[in-house]
């Protein structure tokens, strides 16, 4: 099981702040995103998205392990 979190415009677009997923063996962050799109029925194609794995920025090619916390969010605008 992995926990997936969404923030800001991504959270609003998906209509939820998080979802738990059964991990498919050998998944990457990109494949987790595809699973999220499948479950929610919402496409995030064309959105500017960043990803984090266990609260560290990662590329979408990053492998995912059971128990991970994955997050998707738009480019940051703090400061």
């Amino acid at each position: 099981m992995i926990s997936v979190k969404f923030f800001a415009s991504v959270r609003e677009r998906l209509g939820r702040a998080n979802v738990d997923l059964e991990l498919q063996a050998g998944s990457t962050v990109a494949e987790v995103l595809a699973q999220v799109e499948g479950i929610t029925g919402v496409s995030l194609a064309g959105q500017h998205l960043l990803a984090a794995r266990n609260q560290v920025h990662v590329p979408f090619t990053e492998p995912v392990a059971d128990g991970d916390e994955i997050a998707f969010f738009p480019p940051v605008t703090g400061g």
Partner: protein
């Protein structure tokens, strides 16, 4: 090295006094505040969302990197979240060092890097409604680091 993420207001002078370094010959601080306008509209308020846990972790990572790169004695980062009004302070970065050059350089480094890596998102509340700020420094930084969804690289 101190990092704080909070809803409450803070006072620049009080924070600098509270973190004073006896051996420092210089302290440089940057205070970011809420503007009362954006590209197209007046701003009534600013709502700042963040990723609790990752935010603190990312700010600590940036502060450690500044400590490694520059000859500084200490640093302080305070970043607020929640609903803020125009002119409210959003972020404080302060750096103490023996001499001014390192403090200036490290302060600039800290604010520049945190703006492109710390997971905060601003939403402007205007008379016409609310909208997420989609400033592009974050897009560009993300793209450079290969973190942006590959489908949108060409749009950044």
């Amino acid at each position: 090295m101190t990092v704080r993420v909070q809803q409450e207001a803070f006072h620049l002078g009080a924070e600098l006094l509270a973190h004073a370094q006896p051996t420092a010959g210089a302290v440089v601080s940057f205070l970011g505040t809420v503007r009362d306008y954006s590209d197209a509209a007046d701003i009534l308020a600013m709502e700042i969302e963040h990723y609790p846990g990752m935010t603190e972790r990312e700010l600590e990572r940036v502060a450690q990197e500044a400590q490694r790169r520059y000859d500084i004695l200490d640093s302080l980062i305070i970043h607020r979240y929640g609903r803020l009004a125009p002119q409210d302070p959003i972020v404080l970065v302060a750096v103490w060092s023996l001499h001014r050059a390192a403090a200036f350089d490290a302060c600039r480094y800290l604010i520049d890097v945190l703006k492109t890596s710390a997971p905060f998102w601003k939403k402007e509340i205007t008379p016409a409604g609310a909208r997420w700020v989609t400033d592009c420094p974050g897009c560009r930084a993300g793209t450079q680091h290969g973190h942006v969804h590959p489908d949108v690289l060409e749009e950044c």
